[in-house]
Structure formats: structure tokens, C-alpha cells
């Protein structure tokens, strides 16, 4: 037997560097804890941000459209841009640990270590078209996320973590089954090779291909909280701290979208009508069902959970359309959504109170925000801006995302889909307005400022400020953002 010879250069290890930095960061935090115990959380937060910054730097230095590490790493345009979004989002969410109230989980260095491992996991997920590496990335990220939820240390959080874990395990099983079937069909785990072989063979035997695709849709459906795989979402968001819930509504889904984009791109253009139809149906049901359920929620956080399901459906439509314009629209939408949701969940996080003063079941019932404008006008106005943005009222940021994706739908002949999107936006505006009505048109139940601002600190307020500015003035930088995204998506051939 010949010894295997691999030259270091052909490995192109720099493609791995960003993730390795994140992992090294996690390990460093653990080591620091070994050396000196009971350090303040602000140290960990800042260390995490620094490591993420290094991570970002290493990422931006990469050449686009290279492969590395036995060709399992794929650094194409969408891998780069989605990693940038993931890292920036993580950098914006991690300072939310700096609350003025003490929360148990942030005193543990493990929290920050796991957080960085999770980021690395998501990065692996988006930077590969190898089903095994995607699976590894997915599980690394998920297994770090479960304890992060449970750390919140309340009954609901344990419930949420276990629910998420169970669902996640099922999804992982589906993913493994789907990959196994695809491997059996084609003898490869690389998506581009699978596509080649399947196209060559004319997608025969069709029944096995469809079963594999069904497993894949289910697996990704869990991660993207597509209806009917969405049932965990509101409970998990409710159990997790608002900061983490906001994070979960943005980053894991983006990673899921990128995998879905790689996975379904060739299937959608393959001419198998079935795949496209089932995705169409899933998109429409996800948008509509989540919107209708959100109408009857009593709790703002649960409402935002359903709203984020609906937004995921909206964005999934972009993948279903599958043109360069729609795929660029996806990233644009998600960047805008990141800032809006960051702001909205941070506002909930600020108003978090340890005892349930308003309702014995919910943390954030609508009544809690009654007449907020009279007590704290700026906070109420910011929250209103986030709600208007989520509802798609121009000129706030998400309007441009909606406009662009609806435009992509129209341009590819999906007029009906665009109309359904429009009607869904009209439905959704009701539950966003409901919060605005409570804040602006009702009288406050309690007029003690401290009840609301319990959790506020300089860093939390800064984050809200950044989000507000981004949401209001987005019109001015949509143009450069969009041309960058379009360029990079086109480069990677989507």
C-alpha cells in the first residue's frame, strides 16, 4: 500500500482559518476560566467580539470561488456573504449579555465558549457543499445551541431546550437518511456531483430521488421552521431568553437557507415539477398559516416567533423562484431582517422582568406595553419603527427586501405568488399594529419607568440605537448593498 501523500498547499488550509479562529476563541475562554475563576461577564463578551472580529478578518481575506481541505470546503460568494452576516449578527447579539440585571447564564464562561463553537458550526454549514460536512456543521451548531437555551435556568427554558433537542434530533435523522439515499443513488456526497450524476441519468429512479428530496425538505423544514415542522418555534422562543430567541430567529435560519439554496438549486431547475410544487405549497402555507396564528397571540414574543416563521416562508419563496435576482433578494432581506429583529428582540430583552407582573402565563403580554409612549417615548417610537418595518411599511428597511423579492417573483412569472405575498403582508400588518395600538393609543397600567427599563444598560441601548438607525435610513444604503450582493451571488452561479 502506498502512503498517502498530501501537500500542505493543496489543502488550502486558509479556507478553514475563520472557523478555526472561532473554535480557538471558545477554547481560549475555557482556558482563561481554568486559570482564574469568577471573571466578570464583560470580559468574556469582549473576548468573544474580538475573536469574531478576527474571524471576520480571516474570512474577508479569502479568495472567492476556491476549494480547500480535500475539496470539502467551498468558499464561493454565498459562503462568504452568509458567513459575514452570521459573524456580524453574532457580534451584535453577544453584547446583549451585558444587562444591568444579573442572569445566571452569563456568569458561566461555557456560555460564551459554546456560543463561539456554534458560530463555527454555522460557518461550516454554509461553507461546504459536502453533505457530511454540512451535517457535522449543523450538529455542532445545534448541539451548542441546546445547552445555551437551557442555561437560562427556568422551567420553560428546560422545556424549550428539550423540545428543540428532540425536534432537532429528528431533523438530523431526516438529514442523514436523505443524504444516505442520495449517496446510494449517486455514489457521492458532494452536491455538485450528485447534481451531475442525477442529471445524466435523467433523475431515475424518480421515486427514490423524490424520497430523498422529501427527507431533505423535512430536515431543512425543521431548521427553517417551515409549516408543518414549525411547532417547536414559539415554545422555544418563549423559553429562551429574548436575546437568544432573536439570535435564533436570524442566524440558524440563514445557515439553513444557504444549505437549501445549494440543495434545491439544481432540483428546481431540473424540470421535476413535483419539487417546485411542493416548495411552492410549503412557502404559501408557511407564510399564511403563521400569519393567521400570529393574529391571535396574546404574547408579543410568541407573536414575533410566528412572525419570524412567516418571514422565513417569504424568504423561502426566493429560493423557490431560484433566479439570481431572487437569491440576492434573499440575502438583502435577511440583512434587513437581522437588524429589525435584533432591535425588536432587544426591546423585549430590555423590558424583561424577573417576576411576571402582568400575566401569570406570559412574560410579554400586549398589556405590558400599554401607553408606553407616555412613559418612555423614545423606546415606544423605536419599537413602533421595528414593527412598521416588519410589516413592510415604506421607507423602513424590510419594505425594500419585500419589494425586491416580490419584484423577483413578478419577473419570473410568479404573479400569483407575488399577490399571495402582498395579501400576507396585509394580514400581518394587523398584529404588528396591535402592539403599536397598545403602545400609542392606550393608557399605561403602571407608570413606573423602572418596570420597563429594568434590564437596560448602555450596550443594550447602543444595540437598539444601531438597529433604529439602520431600519430608518436603510433607503440610502440599499443600493451599494444590493449591487455587492448581486455581484457576489452571480459569481457563485446562483
Amino acid at each position: 500500500m502506498e502512503p498517502i501523500k498530501v501537500s500542505l498547499e493543496s489543502l488550502n488550509l486558509t479556507t478553514l482559518l475563520p472557523m478555526l479562529i472561532a473554535v480557538a476563541g471558545g477554547l481560549t475562554i475555557l482556558i482563561i476560566d481554568l486559570i482564574k475563576e469568577n471573571l466578570h461577564k464583560s470580559l468574556y463578551v469582549m473576548l468573544s467580539i474580538l475573536f469574531l472580529l478576527l474571524d471576520l478578518g480571516a474570512l474577508i481575506g479569502l479568495d472567492i470561488n476556491t476549494r480547500g481541505f480535500f475539496d470539502v470546503m467551498l468558499i464561493d460568494g454565498i459562503a462568504v456573504i452568509s458567513q459575514i452576516i452570521i459573524i456580524v449578527a453574532s457580534m451584535l447579539f453577544i453584547p446583549l449579555a451585558l444587562t444591568s440585571k444579573r442572569f445566571h447564564e452569563f456568569s458561566l464562561p461555557e456560555f460564551f465558549a459554546l456560543f463561539l463553537f456554534m458560530v463555527a458550526g454555522f460557518q461550516f454549514m454554509v461553507a461546504s457543499d459536502n453533505l457530511i460536512l454540512i451535517f457535522v456543521g449543523l450538529e455542532t451548531a445545534s448541539l451548542s445551541l441546546y445547552p445555551l437555551i437551557a442555561f437560562h435556568n427556568r422551567d420553560k427554558s428546560f422545556e424549550a431546550a428539550i423540545k428543540y433537542f428532540t425536534m432537532g434530533a429528528v431533523a438530523a435523522g431526516f438529514f442523514a437518511f436523505g443524504s444516505a439515499l442520495l449517496y446510494g443513488l449517486t455514489g457521492s456526497v458532494e452536491i455538485y456531483k450528485i447534481a451531475e450524476v442525477l442529471t445524466e441519468r435523467g433523475f431515475e429512479p424518480i421515486i427514490v430521488v423524490l424520497t430523498a428530496v422529501a427527507f431533505m425538505i423535512a430536515a431543512l423544514g425543521f431548521k427553517l421552521s417551515m409549516v408543518p415542522f414549525h411547532t417547536w418555534t414559539p415554545d422555544v422562543y418563549e423559553g429562551a431568553s429574548s436575546a437568544l430567541a432573536g439570535y435564533m430567529s436570524v442566524v440558524p435560519k440563514l445557515a439553513g437557507f444557504v444549505v437549501a439554496m445549494r440543495m434545491f438549486e439544481f432540483l428546481i431547475h431540473s424540470g421535476i415539477v413535483w419539487v417546485r410544487d411542493i416548495l411552492y405549497l410549503a412557502v404559501v402555507i408557511t407564510m399564511t398559516f403563521a400569519n393567521i396564528v400570529a393574529l391571535v397571540q396574546h404574547d408579543v414574543k410568541r407573536m414575533l416567533a410566528y412572525s419570524s416563521i412567516s418571514h422565513a416562508g417569504f424568504v423561502m419563496a426566493a429560493i423557490m423562484i431560484g433566479t439570481t435576482q431572487s437569491n440576492s433578494g434573499l440575502f438583502l432581506y435577511w440583512i434587513l431582517f437581522l437588524f429589525t429583529n435584533l432591535g425588536a428582540f432587544t426591546m423585549l430583552w430590555i423590558s424583561r422582568h424577573k417576576s411576571n407582573l402582568w400575566h401569570d402565563r406570559f412574560d410579554h403580554p400586549y398589556e405590558k406595553f400599554s401607553g408606553l409612549v407616555q412613559i418612555m417615548p423614545i423606546a415606544a417610537t423605536s419599537m413602533a419603527v421595528f414593527m412598521l418595518s416588519l410589516a413592510g411599511i415604506p421607507p423602513f428597511s424590510l419594505f425594500w427586501g419585500k419589494l425586491y423579492i416580490m419584484g423577483a417573483a413578478v419577473n419570473s412569472g410568479y404573479i400569483m405568488l407575488a399577490l399571495i405575498m402582498a395579501i400576507n403582508s396585509a394580514i400581518s400588518v394587523y398584529y404588528y399594529l396591535k402592539l403599536i395600538v397598545y403602545m400609542f393609543m392606550k393608557d399605561p397600567i403602571s407608570d413606573k419607568q423602572t418596570i420597563y427599563f429594568k434590564n437596560s444598560s448602555l450596550s443594550l441601548r447602543t444595540i437598539v440605537g444601531i438597529s433604529v438607525v439602520f431600519t430608518i435610513f436603510s433607503s440610502f444604503f440599499i443600493s451599494p448593498l444590493l449591487s455587492y450582493i448581486t455581484e457576489i451571488v452571480r459569481l457563485s452561479g446562483f
Partner: protein, 508 residues
């Protein structure tokens, strides 16, 4: 003076933002000053406006999202100029007469933001910019109705918002599709309205796109059967809310017809004259009858305003110069008159805290000035010659007469029925003996109310006697538009309608 329109749009918003700092006690003076400056600015636009040029003037063009054909593109022509001045004028007068105690500061800031959106809608030449302001105008109005309104204010505010939002989203899909068709035709995508005006579309597309735009506009107007939100909104809104809503916001819909529907889809517009005229006539007659049966003075005005909007729609779809110019004039006159009437209702409501007709009677004896001004506005609303209401109504009906005498006759019932319900309301309020003790010692109008109403009355009579300063520029731009529509027409029917206009214009 190149950037006067941008200044005009953003000045009130900027002032509104600074208004947060102004002391609570002096906020009304601040608001009035800002609105006065804005009004003067709009008058400057009128002064510098070249009356002999029917095209767009004061044009500004800044790329916003050039890759996707979205630009900040604004300008005015004869059609939008006076609606623009109307909105700054009504805001100014409305602020003077404003009589709100609760949280006045937020009210004034909201009004200034609302003014920005109104001006923005009327000067936008890019469909997306238009849409942005169109939608944004809902937000301050939602707050004004929902916070300062009466009992069922929240229901009314949300109903108003959802109705209009739904319609405009369908319109947005229409806009996106139209931009895509433009892309197919020319190879570049564009949302610019003048570009769209030059685009010739197959009839099939025109028809569906017309319907998409129609839904958005019709809900705003509001056309029958989409009018059900309006009585609620008016019934619950505070006085200033009703004034702005009736005077300016409703005009956005009819302005949209003139700006989008007619020139972009000339064939579909001609083909749909009859169904739209049918809806408009139902609007005119049915809501006039409903107005007659109202117990509440404000609801009378609210329904009357739907009825008059019907005449505006009839005039717009007459497809000739009299009809369209007349309907634009009627938009302005109706804006002034209905604004004034809502202010008058507000005045009596402030004194008695009721708007029910049966509570009043014989008010002419205790409040003679009030009765006089109400009388003038009533005459203008009914369309008496030498008042502003006559010119527009007469021209609109004359325009539609050329299409069909039956439409003109049925539309003309607006005047007859209008006289009936307005005079009934006037009689019940002002004539007869004073039956209610509480009415014995009502104070007459104070100087604030008098200033605002007298200035409106002045305009009513001035433009009623001499409408030319306004009609001329409107005519010029409408002529341009009709020219364009004639050139674009592809169906036989549309060609006939427009060539008929041509013959008449040349004969003149």
C-alpha cells in the same frame, strides 16, 4: 431654487423632528409658523411655475437604487401643483383652528409628518417614491384617529389602515409588474412615471394592471363598494383628522387615477368607462340618500364627501379636457369646502360635545357669524354659481355629458340631492326656535376659528368668481396628457374617443 421641491417635502418633517425640543406651551405657535413657511414655499412654487409649459417643472433626479430603476424623482405640473398648494394650505389653516388639549405636542408633530407625506405623494414622479409616501401617510393618520378620536377610535383607525394598506399592496404588485413590462419592452427597468407614460401596453395587460391600480386608488377615494371605512374614520376622528382626511388624503386616490390610470392605460380606461361610471353614480346617489338620513351632523358631511368624490371620478373618466380639468378643480374645491365644513362641525362639537342634529336648532340666533360661514360653505358644497363648488362640478358634468347624457343626468343628481341633505341639516341646526336650553348661551366663533374659516371662505368666493388662475395651468397639463393618450391609444374605441377630443380642441 432648484431644490425647492425637496425642501418642500422634507421641511415639515425636519421641523417636526425639531419640534420635540420645543416647549409644550408654545408648540402650537411653532406648528403654525412651520406650516405658514411651508405654505409660502408652495406659493413660491406657484409664482415660479411656467404657466405655458404643460410638462413637469422643478424636476429633481437623484439615483436611489439605480440597478433596480428606483430613483428619487420629483416634479410638478399643472395637475399636481394646486393639489400640492391645497395640502399645504389646509394643513396651515387646520393648525390655526386646532383645538386639542390632550398631548398637543404629539398631535402637531404627527401633523407635520403627515404634511411631508402629502406633499411627497403629489410631487413624486417615481412610482416607488410615490408608494413610499402613499403608505407612510397612513401611519400619522392612524395615530391621529386612534389616539385623539372618540369612543370607537381604535377600531376605526385599524379599519382605515387595513383597508388602504391592502389595496395599496395589490397596487404595488401592479407597479412591479409594470416595471417588468417596461423592462421587457426597453431592456432597462424603470419605475419612473414619465417613462411609464410613454410605454404602450397590449390591451390584455392594460386591463389587469388597470384593475390592480384601481383597487389601490378606489379604496382610497373611496369608491363604492369600498367606502365602508370612511364613515367610521370620519365619525371617530378628531376634527383635524377629518379635515385632512377629507380635504387631502382622499384626493390622493383621484389624483392617482389622473396620474397613473389614465395616461398609462388609456385603452383600458376607455373600455372601463361604463362600469366605473356606474360605480360612481351609485356612489353619488346612494351616499347622498344615506347622508339625508343621518342623525349626526358630521356623518352628513362624511357621506356628502363620498357623494362628491363620485362626481370627481365621473369627471376624470370623461376622457376629455373639460371633464378631467373639471375633476381636478373639483378636487381642490371639495378639499377646501369639505375641510371647512368639518372644521365648522368641530367648532360646534367643541362647544356642545355633541354632533347630533336633534340637539341643535335655532343656532342662527346665538351664533350669527357661525351661521353665515356655515351657509357660505353649504352653498359652495351644493355647487351654487359664483362659489368654488360650481366650477368643478359643472365642468365635470359637462365632460361626462359628452360621453353619455344619462351619466351626466344621474351624476347631476348630486347637486339636487346635495341641496336636499345639506339644507335639511342646515335647517335643523340653525333655523327655528331654540329648543334646547344648553344652546341659549353659546359663544360665537372666536378669532382663531374666524381667521381660519374666513380665509377659506375668501378662497371659496375668489376662485368661484374667477377660476382662471387655477384652471389655465390645469388645462395646459391636461391637454398634454390627452395628446399623449391619443398617441398611445391602440383600440378602436379609445382612438375614437380621443380623436373626438382632438377635433374639438382644434375647432376652438
Amino acid at each position: 431654487m432648484d431644490h425647492i421641491l425637496t425642501l418642500l417635502i422634507f421641511f415639515p418633517a425636519l421641523a417636526g423632528m425639531l419640534g420635540f425640543i420645543v416647549d409644550k406651551e408654545n408648540i402650537q405657535a411653532y406648528g403654525i409658523t412651520v406650516a405658514a413657511i411651508e405654505f409660502i414655499l408652495s406659493l413660491v412654487v406657484w409664482m415660479l411655475f411656467d404657466v405655458n409649459n404643460g410638462g413637469f417643472q422643478f424636476v429633481e433626479f437623484i439615483p436611489l437604487i439605480p440597478n433596480y430603476g428606483i430613483n428619487y424623482y420629483v416634479g410638478v405640473d399643472g395637475i399636481s401643483l394646486f393639489i400640492l398648494i391645497l395640502s399645504t394650505f389646509i394643513t396651515f389653516v387646520g393648525l390655526i383652528s386646532l383645538n386639542v388639549k390632550k398631548n398637543l405636542k404629539n398631535m402637531i408633530i404627527s401633523l407635520l409628518f403627515l404634511e411631508m407625506t402629502m406633499v411627497g405623494v403629489f410631487v413624486a414622479l417615481d412610482a416607488i417614491v410615490f408608494y413610499v409616501f402613499w403608505e407612510l401617510s397612513l401611519v400619522p393618520m392612524l395615530y391621529i384617529i386612534g389616539y385623539w378620536g372618540s369612543e370607537k377610535r381604535i377600531y376605526a383607525a385599524i379599519k382605515f389602515f387595513l383597508y388602504t394598506f391592502f389595496g395599496s399592496l395589490i397596487m404595488l404588485v401592479g407597479m412591479l409588474f409594470l416595471a417588468y413590462l417596461y423592462y421587457l419592452a426597453t431592456g432597462t427597468i424603470s419605475f419612473s412615471i414619465p417613462d411609464w407614460h410613454r410605454l404602450i401596453l397590449p390591451y390584455e395587460y392594460q386591463f389587469w394592471l388597470f384593475l390592480a391600480f384601481f383597487l389601490g386608488m378606489a379604496i382610497k377615494v373611496p369608491m363604492f363598494p369600498f367606502h365602508t371605512w370612511l364613515p367610521y374614520a370620519h365619525g371617530q376622528a378628531p376634527t383635524i383628522g377629518s379635515v385632512i382626511l377629507a380635504a387631502v388624503l382622499l384626493k390622493m386616490g383621484t389624483y392617482g387615477f389622473v396620474r397613473f390610470s389614465l395616461p398609462i392605460f388609456p385603452d383600458a380606461s376607455v373600455a372601463l368607462i361604463s362600469p366605473i361610471a356606474f360605480l360612481a353614480i351609485i356612489m353619488v346617489i346612494y351616499t347622498a340618500m344615506v347622508a339625508y338620513a343621518q342623525e349626526d351632523l358630521k356623518q352628513v358631511i362624511a357621506y356628502s364627501s363620498i357623494s362628491h368624490m363620485g362626481v370627481i371620478v365621473l369627471g376624470t373618466f370623461a376622457m376629455n379636457i373639460e371633464g378631467i380639468a373639471g375633476s381636478i378643480f373639483l378636487m381642490i374645491s371639495h378639499g377646501i369646502v369639505s375641510g371647512a365644513l368639518f372644521m365648522l362641525v368641530g367648532n360646534i362639537y367643541d362647544r356642545r360635545h355633541t354632533k347630533l342634529l336633534k340637539e341643535f336648532g335655532g343656532l342662527a340666533q346665538v351664533m350669527p357669524k357661525y351661521a353665515l360661514l356655515f351657509g357660505i360653505m353649504l352653498m359652495a358644497s351644493v355647487g351654487l354659481p359664483l362659489t368654488i363648488g360650481f366650477v368643478g362640478e359643472f365642468l365635470s358634468l359637462m365632460g361626462i355629458y359628452k360621453i353619455s347624457s344619462a351619466y351626466a343626468f344621474l351624476g347631476g343628481l348630486s347637486i339636487v340631492l346635495g341641496a336636499a341633505y345639506m339644507l335639511r341639516a342646515y335647517k335643523l341646526t340653525f333655523f327655528g326656535p331654540i329648543t334646547n336650553e344648553k344652546n341659549k348661551n353659546l359663544p360665537d366663533l372666536n378669532w382663531k376659528e374666524l381667521t381660519s374659516l374666513a380665509s377659506l371662505a375668501l378662497v371659496v368666493i375668489w376662485l368661484g368668481v374667477n377660476p382662471n388662475p387655477i384652471l389655465k395651468p390645469i388645462n395646459k397639463s391636461v391637454e398634454n396628457m390627452l395628446d399623449l393618450m391619443e398617441k398611445k391609444a391602440i383600440t378602436q374605441k379609445a382612438k375614437e374617443v380621443f380623436s373626438h377630443n382632438r377635433v374639438e380642441m382644434e375647432a376652438r
